[in-house]
């Protein structure tokens, strides 16, 4: 049923010329944005959420998803030409893409990464369409308390996975995010929380300005002093030969599996998908010595892995309302803003949503094949714009994006305030994705948890349900494993000689 609806949606979207034009423009902009060092997929989606608010949900999602797909691929262009990944997800691509460019095969590398990105996105999409309905059937058994615990588990896993320094910093970011979402009038009892009598705080902090501040302003300040890099001259044909690619199909499939699997883990993201697929390719390759020196297998694995993570990251987002990556977290914000409530009930309430989302992803990845050539051939000079000129412009866009949602200047203040405050935390290696996830999922955790206490009346009855018990156990276990005393108890000491 989903598949036939999926093809029907493809047909409907493909025969809408205006929508296709917007998607084409969006994929192209996404590639350029992804290719520019300092501009990230998450940042561009965060700004777009505000700018597309007034559009129809179908068009808004088409634009946002097209930019998402384009930006994840776009990072590989600079990885090849500048040795600077435009997005973190293309970091693994640079290891072999740049050496290939130095060998005079820049266009070959760009062509191969484009094909890999296309197949990777399709692979992720295929698994999304297969897994999501099954997972939704399981998730429908969840009650309020289980939904709250699952969301809390997702936020904590995201903090655990995304923290580049100490795991505790990921959790701190997530807790701060959830606390920020508590500001305003409590929806269950109408009590004011942390408003200090200020009318502006009564409605709480909108999550879009926080997202834009965290991912936009922090990047602007960070990248203003970024030096302009020199591009490597592009030589060779921009169109890869199909027979060159066909021999890498098994590698592509394996990397697609890894990328999608990693994408499903909350907070893991596209970059981890790319890295793991790259390491798996290196581990199993017969030409290990070429890795890091210009291996085609390396760039294909990395690009397939990171693009396949897009579909993977959407699986928990659609079924459990828990995004698998930072851009998916921002996408969750966009969905909520347009009245789509992801979760187990989505398949029942809006059965056409998943096929439509899949159709947009499919068309966006097809457009990527054409748009990628156009960007690599004609718009590549956009990479020569110095960050010192680009970043102040991005700051202005952040202001427009945060204001457009509620037409409220307070949201612009929140955007700038959160951007500046969390820039300090970002420099201290606190991950920002768990924070945003906390802001978005905080109200859901709070409401569901207290509602179940209201129904059951006491603590014990709520946590005695099997699923709740398992989830509580997992959360406690995850927290305990980070306590040094517990770690030392379970550490195996080396055998004495």
């Amino acid at each position: 049923m989903t598949l036939s609806s999926f093809f029907q949606n493809i047909w409907e979207l493909a025969t809408n010329p205006l929508l296709m034009l917007w998607m084409f423009i969006s994929v192209t902009i996404g590639i350029i944005v992804g290719a520019m060092p300092g501009l990230t997929a998450t940042m561009s989606i965060a700004i777009l959420v505000g700018l597309t608010y007034g559009l129809s949900p179908e068009l808004a999602f088409a634009i946002i998803l097209s930019v998402y797909v384009g930006a994840i691929y776009g990072g590989s262009i600079t990885a090849v030409l500048l040795n600077i990944p435009g997005t973190a997800s293309a970091a693994a691509t640079a290891l072999d893409g740049y050496p290939l460019a130095l060998q005079g095969r820049a266009n070959y590398a760009i062509g191969m990464t484009r094909m890999a990105s296309f197949i990777g996105t399709l692979f992720g999409l295929l698994l999304l369409l297969t897994i999501a309905p099954l997972l939704a059937k399981v998730a429908i058994l969840f009650t309020s308390v289980e939904m709250a615990l699952l969301a809390l588990f997702g936020v904590l896993v995201s903090g655990f996975v995304a923290a580049p320094d100490l795991k505790i910093k990921g959790w701190i970011a997530a807790f701060i995010g959830m606390l920020m979402s508590m500001v305003g009038i409590d929806l269950l009892h109408g009590t004011e929380r942390f408003t200090f009598g200020q009318p502006m705080l009564m409605t709480g902090f909108a999550f879009v300005p926080i997202m834009i501040g965290v991912f936009g302003i922090a990047q602007v300040i960070d990248n203003l002093s970024l030096p302009q890099a020199k591009r490597i001259k592009q030589t060779g044909s921009i169109l890869p030969k199909l027979k060159d690619y066909v021999k890498y199909i098994p590698l592509t499939l394996r990397s697609g599996f890894i990328g999608t699997g990693v994408g499903i883990i909350p907070g893991a993201g596209e970059d981890m998908g790319g890295w793991l697929a790259y390491f798996a390719a290196k581990f199993t390759s017969k030409k290990k010595h070429l890795f890091g020196k210009g291996s085609t297998e390396g760039i294909i694995a990395a690009e397939t892995g990171n693009n396949a993570s897009i579909g993977g990251a959407l699986v928990p987002l659609i079924t459990l309302s828990i995004p698998g990556s930072a851009p998916a977290a921002v996408l969750l914000g966009a969905l909520l803003l347009h009245g789509v409530r992801p979760g187990p009930m989505l398949m029942t309430e809006q059965p056409d949503f998943l096929p439509q989302l899949g159709a947009i992803l499919f068309l966006a990845s097809c457009i990527l094949l054409i748009s990628g050539i156009i960007v690599a051939k004609f718009f590549i000079r956009a990479l020569d714009i110095p960050p010192k000129i680009l970043m102040p412009m991005v700051a202005v866009m952040c202001v427009i994006g945060s204001y457009a949602i509620n037409i409220r200047i307070f949201d612009v203040f929140v955007m700038l305030g959160s951007g500046l405050v969390f820039y300090v935390l970002h420099k201290q290696k606190y991950p920002m994705a768990p924070l945003v996830l906390g802001v978005i999922l905080g109200p859901m955790i709070d409401e569901n948890l207290r509602r179940s206490f209201m129904v059951h009346g006491d603590l014990g009855a709520v946590f005695m349900r099997p699923i709740a018990l398992v989830l509580t156990g997992l959360i406690v276990l995850m927290l305990l494993t980070q306590i040094p005393w517990v770690q030392s108890k379970f550490k195996t000491s080396p055998p004495r000689l």
Binding site: A79, P85, L166, T191, S225, G292, M393, V399, F453, G457
Partner: protein, 179 residues
């Protein structure tokens, strides 16, 4: 990290663990105090509140319940981070007046502070008082000047053209309200 790793992966390689932990100590201490204040307010909202229609176990459904758990968790985690920072931060001599002066007069730090101030000026002062296009052009001009992005006439041209273009595209063409 291999020598052929892309540049972005080694962006903070210069910042050693000691420096990170010293800065952690400052940030964690400030946030610890904030967390304690939030915890106190959450406790008031959990145990010092009456809710209509709720007779038993009021604290479980009180609006302060989750904030209490979260802020309590933050106090614990910040305490742990402070303890770790003191242990690993090599604090001796790093909080002298000369060290603090050196840190705040660092060229990159000064430029970043100026850029942040310009953003604040743009958002808190110029927006709402001037037309959006004019405010944006002024901000762009100042930000690019501080960053020494190009020649003076180029910066002026880019600022005016970009602010004019976005004001027209978003404000007039796409009908998106501008601040």
């Amino acid at each position: 990290m291999t020598s052929d790793s892309p540049d972005i992966l080694v962006e903070d390689a210069g910042e050693d663990m000691g420096t990170l932990r010293r800065h952690d100590l400052i940030v964690s201490s400030i946030l610890w105090v904030v967390s304690v204040l939030v915890l106190l307010d959450s406790l008031r909202m959990t145990f010092g509140i009456t809710l209509p229609g709720v007779e038993e176990n009021v604290w479980l459904v009180a609006p302060g319940f989750l904030p209490m758990i979260l802020s309590g968790g933050l106090v614990l985690m910040f305490s742990g981070l402070i303890w770790l920072s003191v242990r690993q931060g090599e604090l001796k001599g790093h909080f002298s007046s000369s060290a603090i002066l050196r840190a705040i007069t660092d060229r990159e730090m000064v430029i970043k502070l100026i850029q942040m101030s310009l953003l604040c000026l743009f958002v808190f002062v110029l927006l709402g008082r001037l037309h959006f296009g004019l405010a944006a052009a002024l901000y762009l001009f100042a930000a690019m000047m501080v960053a020494r992005a190009a020649k003076l006439w180029q910066i002026a041209l880019i600022s005016v053209m970009f602010s004019g273009a976005i004001t027209y595209v978003f404000g007039s063409l796409m009908k998106i309200p501008l601040p």
